[in-house]
């Protein structure tokens, strides 16, 4: 069973190498025409689609499966345009040697970029096959029909793709000139096709990079410093004693006890009891532990490789126990984190401004909202497998961007990028830039000491919490004017935030964690303000509402007291929370119903539609107020002002004694343009709402000056099954509109709906996230 599984896995993860080049065959004298979606950067047809001698299609995408169902949705698009059954479309994704470079799978852009490329490439490939068939059949291409990969002439003669494939020249420029099918002709797109990956995942199949078992594979673990920036000085007295057979072993406390201690307490506080023989050569002693193959030390990067996974863990615990580190720079005091952030130097940019005369008799109000650092908190800690063989490094990774990762690996390893191959294999859901890329470098660094054998590294739970880049803390201040007629006459919005991307794709440095700890450390890329319209901290900071005057200012904070990067939605979650909370505050002042107040300020018809649809679905009653313990609220956004529209209504209950806020039910109306896979879309929206409920009620990274304190699920609790709201969704399909990304569309609206429901229930406003029992009680008693 093992051997078969290995072969099957190898086949799925790069066992077959297809020979083709990305170099365009045609030299262009003039600037080539801009092509839509990701075709623009990957212009050759056969970079996307090849037809085999069996008539089946091999479809390559640079976008990767993150549990969002994208590979299934992209297969639907390709199969639709090719007129092939889904089962005859093989997908290859995220491999620096086999797929187009589509950057990072992020920002809810895969359907828009990769989907657009595959739709146009598919239509063109089908046309090429039809043209060939027309010649052979002596028929007019327009008169031919295609079904299930078989071309038929009006007289009944047929030619299959298998018969046509050899003569079809797909090594040519995509033109984007062949019109894709109209929505009315779709048979696969728009259907709730079952995901390709789920059967394996529910039967114990090999599904994740974590499951990769290459022949001769070793296991590695990394010993991280106690805090950011600490340097490895050496090792304290040896705390390993000899076993009766002479091999050193950690034996004073049980193995599991040690893991638990390391996970739950600070590694420096782990104490082993019993006799501690004072032996020389600590690293040598660890190397002599059972199964240990190598201790890898490069500057302040410290890791260990062993034959068995539990041996690697034991050895890493022994190393952690005795490693002596310098103190890193202190972290800020969490109690004053927002003051500290506001006191840091900023780059200030007016990102949007609309000027008009301010009408008479307006009344100004203002409020400040805050969002803490939040963790990606993947259920499965990050993992990678690396192998250095014949001067070539192969890395299996759950990175969101295999090409940018390769670039950063090349810098850290001082190897030419062409000698590094990064192959995507799934991980646990990442929700943005977590430690996936960092684990890839860790594995590669260990693989250099493994004499050609592959090394699998998985981070421990505490590693994941302590070292992942968090979603940045943010402060949002809004000041608006209300006219006597109850309309918003002026809107001033300012936000303070770190960058929302320290991904490997950022130019000008190496952002992989270990690269900064090597003997020859790499500089990280300088943080930058990500430009609108997608934006970073200012994502969704520009209102979609039609205000006569507005001014939006992004105060970009360059210094990063905590490691931060892209967490699902970037700044949109915080901005939508703030803006939509304030819309309700203004509606209350204007004595207007929140739904009517929003509609009165919205000109975008699709925006109005989702708000009207969710109000209808939830049975919204204008002017209805809560009773002190129950209430409902609404939130709305068009994600990035470019993507999916979501309006959400939340029903909440408040236990006034405990302060616990429970979200019972969330309704949502969703317009993602043309829907590729309605069940996949619903799954993303449901998940987004539940995750946002968890963020909004619970989540906040804890730290004090010495260290990050959120290190496990007790110190970073997420929503549990009994606390999860029921979710009811209405999808508005717009077959003639562009398909829009939806993976991040629901989080902001859901958060605002919850906060607004609390205010509707109690008459009190919570402006600091998360909406914890302590804050609920404080505001109810205050």
């Amino acid at each position: 069973m093992n051997a078969i599984s290995r072969r099957a896995f190898a086949a799925g993860l790069g066992g077959i190498t297809l020979a083709f080049t990305f170099a365009p065959r045609l030299a262009f004298a003039q600037q080539p025409a801009r092509l839509p979606g990701s075709l623009g950067d990957n212009r050759l047809l056969d970079a996307w689609i090849r037809i085999g001698s069996d008539g089946n299609a091999t479809v390559c995408t640079g976008k990767v499966e993150l549990g969002q169902g994208i590979v299934t949705a992209l297969a639907q698009i390709a199969a639709e345009e090719l007129d092939l059954p889904l089962g005859r479309v093989q997908m290859i994704s995220g491999d620096t040697e086999r797929t187009p470079n589509e950057g990072v799978t992020a920002g809810s852009q895969s359907i828009e970029n990769s989907g657009t490329a595959l739709r146009l490439a598919g239509a063109q490939v089908r046309a090429i096959l039809l043209e060939l068939a027309a010649k052979r059949l002596g028929a007019d291409a327009a008169a031919l029909s295609v079904a299930e990969g078989v071309v038929a002439a009006p007289d009944g003669r047929k030619l299959s793709y298998a018969e046509l494939a050899a003569a079809a020249d797909l090594h040519r420029e995509a033109t984007a000139q062949v019109r894709p099918k109209p929505a009315s002709a779709h048979r696969i797109v728009g259907k709730p096709i079952a995901r390709r990956d789920i059967p394996g995942k529910v039967t114990g199949g090999i599904a994740y990079v974590h499951d990769l078992r290459l022949p001769g594979m070793l296991h590695g673990r990394i010993v991280r410093p106690p805090c950011y920036g600490a340097k490895l000085e050496g090792f304290d007295e040896v705390r390993i004693e000899a076993t009766p057979d002479g091999a050193p072993a950690v034996r004073d406390s049980s193995f599991l006890g040690m893991i638990a201690e390391r996970e739950m307490l600070h590694s420096r506080t782990v104490r082993l009891s019993g006799d501690r023989a004072k032996l020389e050569g600590f690293e040598a002693r660890v190397k002599a532990m059972p199964g240990v193959v190598a201790v890898v030390r490069d500057g302040s990067f410290l890791g260990v490789i062993a034959e068995r996974e539990e041996q690697a863990i034991k050895a890493s615990l022994a190393l952690a126990e005795s490693a002596r580190w310098t103190a890193g720079p202190p972290l800020p005091d969490q109690a004053h984190i927002y003051d500290r952030l506001l006191a840091l130097p900023t780059e200030d940019k007016v990102v949007n401004e609309k000027q008009a005369a301010l009408s008479e008799g307006v009344k100004f109000v203002e409020a400040t909202y805050r969002k803490p650092y939040m963790a990606h908190a993947s259920i499965g800690p990050s993992c990678a497998v690396a192998q250095l063989s014949d001067g070539r490094m192969t890395v299996w990774t759950h990175s969101q961007g295999v090409f940018p990762l390769r670039g950063n690996l090349a810098m850290a390893l001082k190897m030419p990028a062409e000698n590094i191959r990064c192959i995507h294999a799934e991980g646990a859901g990442c929700y943005g830039h977590n430690a996936a890329d960092d684990a890839a470098l860790d594995a590669a660094l260990l693989a250099r000491a493994a004499a050609g054998r592959p090394v699998r590294v998985q981070w421990m739970r505490a590693d994941e919490f302590l070292w992942e880049p968090f979603g940045p803390a943010m402060v949002m201040k809004v000041r608006a004017a209300l006219s006597p007629a109850g309309r918003i006459a002026d809107w001033n919005y300012e936000l303070w935030s770190n960058t929302h991307s320290t991904r490997p794709s950022e130019p000008g440095g190496d952002n992989l964690l270990a690269s900064g700890y090597l003997a020859e450390p790499q500089r990280p890329a300088p943080p930058r303000m990500l430009p609108l319209p997608a934006g970073g901290g200012d994502r969704n900071a520009v209102p979609l509402y039609a205000f006569p005057r507005q001014r939006i200012v992004n105060h970009f904070i360059r210094d990063m007291p905590l490691r931060v990067s892209a967490l699902r939605t970037l700044g949109a979650y915080a901005n939508v929370f703030a803006m939509e909370s304030f819309m309700d505050e203004l509606a209350l002042l204007a004595n207007a119903d929140p739904v009517a107040f929003r509609l009165a300020h919205l000109e975008d018809a699709r925006a109005r539609s989702v708000i009207e649809a969710v109000a209808k679905k939830a049975g919204w009653k204008p002017g209805e107020r809560g009773d002190g313990s129950k209430g409902r609220g609404i939130g709305f956004a068009k994600y990035k002002n470019l993507a999916t529209y979501v309006a959400a209504i939340a029903d909440v209950e408040i236990d006034r004694v405990s302060g616990r806020l429970a979200v019972r039910r969330v309704y949502a109306a969703v317009d993602a343009g043309q829907i590729i896979n309605p069940d996949g879309l619903a799954n993303q929206i449901e998940g987004g709402i539940v995750q946002s409920t968890s963020w909004t009620l619970n989540e906040e990274v804890k730290f004090h000056q010495a260290e990050i304190r959120s290190r496990d699920w007790d110190t970073y609790p997420i929503l549990t099954m009994p606390e999860v709201p029921l979710v009811e969704i209405e999808l508005i399909d717009r077959p003639e509109e562009r398909s829009l990304g939806a993976g991040e569309a629901a989080q902001g609206p859901a958060a605002a709906a919850i906060a607004n429901a609390f205010a509707a229930a109690t008459g009190k406003r919570l402006r600091d996230l998360p909406l914890t029992p302590a804050r609920v009680k404080a505001v109810l008693e205050g």
Partner: protein, 155 residues
Amino acid sequence: MAINIKVNGAMHSVPAEPDTPLLYVLRNDLGLNAAKFGCGIAQCGACTVLVDGKPVRSCATPIDTLGRSEITTLESLGTIERPHPLQAAFMAEQAAQCGYCIPGFMMVAKALLDRNPQPSEADVRQGLAGNLCRCGAHNRIVRAVLRAAQMGGRI
């Protein structure tokens, strides 16, 4: 050092120290993928398997505590071609996003349905309270378990 354990009906001799957590033996010695490392400290449930029919966190279960117990993993329930009702129900409900936590949920659900073949929705939500999902697939998981109950999850 070799230890004998009984997994999915078969005895295996594994070359591991007695304090080795069951999870690593299942994954690395027996090549069983379903149980996942999530936290290593019995908090999240991703590593759940059944020991004598009861859900156990394999990441925190040393192999030398198992004796002659029967260990059951998700792999023994069924295959893609011949899925157990729980597996068929999770496929039918598309009850996963990334899916990493799902085998753990399924093993807790298996024990729940064995004990209570017709649970209410509240029974299911409460019964699965100890397992964590980060993607927000919870409501689908509940629907899948209820569907499995209708299909006769107790097999």
